[in-house]
Amino acid sequence: DTAVSQTPKYLVTQMGNDKSIKCEQNLGHDTMYWYKQDSKKFLKIMFSYNNKELIINETVPNRFSPKSPDKAHLNLHINSLELGDSAVYFCASSQGTGETQYFGPGTRLLVL
């Protein structure tokens, strides 16, 4: 009965590869997010979707492409992975503006 789940939990890959991270929420929320946490623990929003529509895109390289097939899912596809993409990626969801965002457990991406 996990509220926000992400797969995979760990992802180790080579530079130049393409990879995807999946996120699902069973809370019935209409807004989902992707955040990136770097090696210094700094958290920064990347994208936000509301009812499957992109509403926030925070100057993220276009190698990153989010896709929301429905309100409960927000996947993140990354093309041509670079060393600097190594980080922990968190998915989150909320219901409405200013409401609590619930975070997934994170996906630890390591690019070699």
């Binding site: 700094f42 958290l43 965002q101």
Partner: protein, 113 residues
């Protein structure tokens, strides 16, 4: 644009001692404020939030925070910490009517016996 400053990157404290983790924010409009906790190798869990009303907010695990508009602060406090409180604590702000959370750089709370 909004910003959040957590002045202390690390706070060491002994078990059963009180603790205060500082958070200051900058915004020209009304804000919502949050504290999240991140245990090692885990996701973020909401401790408490301020949306409106009483400026003293109580959260889970015995934590509380006070919203001070004049000082643009939202400091987190606990009267007596436990070893299990060792974690990273993040203060975050969002502007009312908008959904983007802006996080501070985090404060690592280290509780020792």
């Amino acid at each position: 644009a909004q910003s959040v400053t957590q002045l202390d990157s690390q706070v060491p404290v002994f078990e059963e001692a009180p603790v205060e983790l500082r958070c200051n924010y900058s915004s020209s409009v009304s804000v919502y404020l949050f504290w999240y906790v991140q245990y090692p190798n885990q996701g973020l869990q909401l401790l408490l939030k301020y949306l409106s009303g009483s400026t003293l907010v109580k959260g889970i695990n015995g934590f509380e925070a006070e919203f001070n508009k004049s000082q643009t602060s939202f400091h987190l406090r606990k009267p007596s910490v436990h070893i299990s409180d060792t974690a990273e604590y993040f203060c975050a702000v969002t502007v009312t009517g908008f959904q983007k959370l802006v996080f501070g750089t985090g404060t690592r709370l280290l509780v020792s016996p």
